[in-house]
């Protein structure tokens, strides 16, 4: 088996209930020979809110890239299945740092050799910086967004005993518009949505109002945001340089 496939399947085994939603974009971009190192990750974050999970809660880790990875690893001890949803490609001069996420995924794979049950609740991993900034011309624009189609439906979660979702943020719990779409759809299905800052102990109900309807106009919205699809999958392409203006001729 390809080393990258091995890594991907360590993160999300094909038998896992939520494996169909995992995004292999970053794994596909890893160099071959990217076998998981033997060393385990030793500095996993403290999760004071972990008692809240109680086995019937799905988690959305909306944290800066590598932090999302380390929190997902820590949640394995609580019986959750990490589901990487990173969808931005790596590239030269990339505006979103995905190299550190790829490194974290590689290092963390060794931690995942002790697998969780196939029906374990999911911990969806996002990069909260996914839409940060506006890339200048000539840079590699790998900003990305999520759609409701990237997550299981509320009906699916409820049918499998998950009645609430906990969104973990670094600071103030203010989900971006793309994630709001997902949370609003879940809430409409009857799922309770909670939010917590990563260092806080007590989650609180997260008010979710549906933003501008992104999903039905997905293609138009992508154009409006200026996001760039990558032909090999996911998001990421070079921002074209503006054409140079004409110069008047003349001898030097």
């Amino acid at each position: 088996m390809d080393d990258r496939q091995l890594l991907f399947e360590l993160w999300t085994p094909p038998s896992a209930r939520y494996a169909p939603w995992a995004k292999p974009v970053l794994f596909a971009q890893m160099a071959t020979g990217a076998a998981p190192p033997d060393s385990q990750v030793s500095d996993l974050p403290v999760q004071p809110w972990a008692d809240f999970l109680e086995g019937r809660t799905a988690v959305v880790l909306d944290l800066p890239g590598e932090s999302s990875v380390s929190h997902a690893l820590a949640l394995v001890a609580h019986g959750l299945q990490p589901v990487p949803l990173f969808n931005g490609c790596a590239g030269p001069g990339a505006c979103i740092d995905v190299e550190s996420i790829m490194m974290g995924l590689r290092r963390g794979a060794a931690h995942l050799r002790h697998s969780v049950p196939a029906d374990a609740p999911p911990a969806f991993m996002l990069d909260s910086n996914r839409t940060a900034g506006k890339p200048p011309p000539g840079s590699f624009d790998n900003r990305w967004v999520v759609f409701p189609q990237d997550f299981p439906s509320g009906r699916f979660l409820l049918a499998h005993g998950l009645a609430r979702v906990l969104v973990v943020h670094q600071q103030a719990c203010k989900p971006a518009d793309d994630l709001k779409q997902v949370l609003a759809a879940w809430k409409k299905s009857g799922i309770e949505i909670f939010g917590v800052e990563e260092a806080r102990k007590s989650p609180a109900p997260l008010p979710v109002t549906k933003p501008w309807p992104l999903r039905p106009f997905a293609a138009l919205a992508l154009l409006a945001l200026g996001l760039r699809s990558n032909s090999a999958g996911g998001f990421g392409a070079k921002v074209p340089l503006p054409p140079e203006g004409g110069r008047s001729g003349g001898l030097a």
């Binding site: 990258r4 189609q149 299981p152 009906r155 106009f217 997905a218």
Partner: protein, 266 residues
């Protein structure tokens, strides 16, 4: 071919090539790591089956000056590729993006539904090519009526049944089969509604309303089946045969029976 036909041919060629190259590139250029090649078969089949279905209709039911002329056959196939290609561009308004859903999200239900949408739009266009008419513009006029009806009826059914969400978000294969059959059946009825010899724009619109309205019956049926399916899915995933194949075959049989009952067009 007249100058306006040559002009229309090259415009259609450019639009059709752009739409379908984009579709195929999105479907095939994606890394094999993201999804298997076999799972993308419906995406590759869609443009091939669409062109084949249109060619068959043209060869058997188009005006004799089209049937007997290779350039005209090519012209109307290219016009159809452009028309259906433009229609495919509107699928994302329903949340359905087959190349992304299948190749990147590994959702086979969306592949089947996407194939059904392409064939439904093809039949809506193909019907407009049936019978004698003064030129290509009447084909576009009739196609606009039938295609608009397909989208409106789909929108109406979706507003109540939410079938497209069951395909793209729930990844329900039964819903994918049923939606595919629904769109093919509605496309067939709408195509039949605009078939016939050209008299006038008003007469075509009157015929379209008169013959095409029973597609609303399918729409109501789909609303009921879709709501029942959603209710069942809250408890457990119902078998695809029950919620997909059986109602899908009913839609197709209903559209076929209705078209046969109408007899030949006038």
């Amino acid at each position: 071919m007249s100058p306006d036909e040559v002009f229309a041919f090259f415009i259609a060629l450019a639009v059709g090539a752009f739409a379908w190259v984009h579709w195929l590139r999105r479907s095939l250029a994606v890394s094999d790591f993201l999804s298997s090649r076999a799972s993308r078969t419906p995406l590759v089949l869609a443009p091939v089956l669409s062109a084949a279905a249109l060619l068959v209709v043209l060869l058997f039911f188009a005006s004799h000056d089209v049937r007997d002329s290779v350039p005209y056959l090519a012209f109307y196939v290219v016009l159809g590729a452009a028309w259906v290609g433009l229609g495919v561009g509107l699928l994302s308004l329903f949340g359905l993006r087959p190349p992304i859903d299948v190749a990147q999200r590994r959702n086979p239900a969306a592949g089947i539904a996407g194939l059904g949408a392409v064939l439904g739009l093809t039949l809506a266009f193909a019907g407009a090519n049936i019978g004698d008419g003064p030129g290509w513009w009447v084909v576009l006029y009739s196609s606009a009526l039938s295609t608009l009806a397909v989208f409106l009826i789909w929108m109406l059914a979706d507003a109540v049944a939410g079938t497209t969400d069951m395909v793209t978000i729930d990844r329900d294969f039964g819903a994918g089969i049923r939606l595919a059959c629904f769109l093919i059946a509605v496309g067939a009825i709408q195509g039949r509604a605009v078939a016939g010899n050209w008299v006038s724009a008003g007469a075509t619109a009157a015929d379209w309303l008169d013959i095409g309205w029973p597609a609303l019956g399918l729409c109501v049926f789909e609303m009921v089946v879709g709501r029942m399916h959603a209710g069942m899915a809250r408890r457990e995933s119902p078998p695809a045969v029950l919620v997909g194949v059986l109602p899908g075959l009913l839609y197709l049989a209903g559209a076929a029976a209705y078209s046969v009952s109408l007899g030949w067009w006038s």
